[in-house]
Symmetry: none
Subunit: 223 residues, 4 copies
């Protein structure tokens, strides 16, 4: 009886595990296809076929196509959070480096999530998860912000609104990612990998104090 009970529990446990695994398989398949084919060409059916399950099964795990995508967004943001967490412990510029490296190491992925988020931003059926995503991102931002402030205080960064420092890093990373996918540049920039390194380098140094000329511009923080 005891063995029976145990095995029953075990079986149930195994089932739960399988269920979880399948969920992950769906997410992996979706991500793979999204990167390979673009956001507009992936259908629920193609995801199901790619992992040999029925289309209906996907709807046992996710309430809509959108929910698959938000989940991907959340997972991605969590990874970034984890990477930053460590680097933010001291207030060095290390976090900036991590940030750039994280985003630029897989430009296709990064851009995909940008696009995905746009699609979902005003979809009421995933509003809740989008809110969770933004919360996560706010925490990352606040961590970086704190670091930026500290570096402004010690004179390492120019004294402007810390949001500007963050924003410009975001923008440069974002732009580099877009550029990566632009075939027009692919034919023009010879060594794309070297270029991304260059971007990181520039990005990390971008806000250093004393390097810009427009010292009296309106956006300067009033000391």
């Amino acid at each position: 009886m005891s063995t029976h009970l145990t095995s029953s529990i075990e079986r149930a446990h195994k089932k739960v595990q399988q269920f979880r695994a399948r969920e992950q398989a769906i997410l992996d398949a979706a991500l793979e296809l999204l990167i390979a084919q673009g956001e507009d060409r992936v259908t629920v059916e193609s995801i199901a076929e790619h992992i040999n399950i029925g289309k209906g099964t996907i709807y046992k795990h996710f309430r809509s196509k959108g929910e698959i995508y938000v989940q991907l967004l959340l997972d991605y943001e969590k990874k970034l959070t984890n990477s930053l967490q460590e680097a933010l412990k001291d207030s060095s510029a290390a976090a900036a480096r991590i940030y750039f490296e994280f985003r630029l190491s897989h430009p296709e992925r990064d851009r995909l999530f940008q696009r995905l988020e746009e699609k979902l931003r005003y979809d009421p059926s995933v509003a809740e998860q989008i809110a969770a995503l933004h919360e996560l991102r706010a925490s990352n931002r606040d961590g970086l912000n704190k670091m930026i402030k500290h570096r402004i205080d010690i004179g390492a960064l120019e004294d402007v609104d810390p949001a500007f420092h963050y924003g410009i890093c975001w923008a440069l990373a974002q732009g580099a990612v877009e550029l990566w996918h632009n075939p027009f540049f692919n034919d023009y920039v010879g060594d794309k990998q070297a270029f991304l390194e260059f971007v990181s380098e520039v990005g990390i140094n971008m806000g250093r104090a004393g390097i810009r000329s427009g010292k009296n511009a309106s956006y300067k923080a009033k000391s």
Copy 2:
């Protein structure tokens, strides 16, 4: 007889003008709706309704939905070309400023065109126009390139592959545009306009010689 002839010509002329005007109305409506609703939510029918014409009328002016979009792309690129032409006459940094200002002055528009181009890039039905677009852009790029080279020669810009300078400007502008649309940032960066100015400022100075630390990185030009 002569007046009659004249008025006949005039009438024909008027007709042509009206036709052109309608074409422009379609383009304007398309642009307006694209910016307001996003690329995926605009239908041919909605464009037609927006200016109170029949769906079929649009196909008198454009062979496909895609052709409307390419036309918008071309018009935009031509405007940029005109703006740059002037500034590129001397080889100062003025062109860089123009470039940033042009792209950042209407971020919604700029981003829209980015997205549009992606959609059309491999659409065989507009391949020809896309080629024309790329030609135009290449000429802009070459103009900027020449200016960059000159500024490297006089020591004003760091001596790396000129494509890198161009690329990083493109990327920063691109990223700033994306950021502009990110509601997450909208809530965070207080004065968005000031931020864009900051971006321009940083962008223009980004590649100045002697301001970065990573002097021995692989991407440095061998002197």
Copy 3:
């Protein structure tokens, strides 16, 4: 004054002539395009463009696209009528030869008209003209019929319902025309022209008395 009047009449006359000529031009263009492109690919616009007139002009001459096509049908049938008229004066087999030659000399045209007629057969807007067409054809048929009867009487043709003789000639001509357009046969029958000659030959002799074996079949006329 008289000259003035004359020239006025002349001008009016010329105008009428031009109008007629234009009508013929429309018909010619339609026929040409129909043969070149197939019945389903010809549009009213393409006809107008082909002769450099406005689309609307066509509707000054014909009330609908269908009316253009019926007119073509009628003209074709009239030509056949004229050709037969002569040959039917004596009651020799000459008419049968003329019939085959007429239909097989331009197989594309013949088949086109077959198709056109099908399209129009139940179009109420051209019912009247279709009736006229059938009347014309009936007169041709009756002429042939009379000849057939005579040849049965003199023992030159087998004694079956004359309609059968007519029908089988029609069918063979029709079939040969279809075959002419079948690419499957084009690759198979080496000398298409020779084949059509063979068809004519067989067709003319098809109903000769005393050559078939099934003498007691149900369709035999009871003598």
Copy 4:
């Protein structure tokens, strides 16, 4: 357990059968409507409505409207193949009789398929199936050809290019089928069924040696 398994398999089997049945229902509905209304008036929606299924369902079974039609073509040609196979075993004229009977027994169907094939012939989306169709037909043709050759050798058929014999049979059958649909003839030929028998009879005897007069025509095989 065993019963459970069995019933599971049975259920799956049943499902497959139902799917097949529906596919056949679509084909049947399409055929019925095509014959009743003509090739140009049948829409995908009308087919769906006719068997009370959704428009989209049809696209689970066929990739395009064209694929429904090719399937009909293939099924038809296969039936003919089966019928001929038997008759071609000996080299008598039996196959010719079968051929005529097959085509003339359902003239509407035969003509429809002719028309359908024309429509699809250059549709790239069904090129593969059209090729299969032609292969099937070529095999039928070759079978008949062999029989014809044999009958020429034994002096039963006139010594002309065997393709001519085949072609003329095809043409006569084709023409008879066309005639069957021509309302002009419907009013004229009293007993249509008897007429078709007459056609068969004539067709089978058409090429018999020694019955034509034009013995020296260019198309004659040089003995």
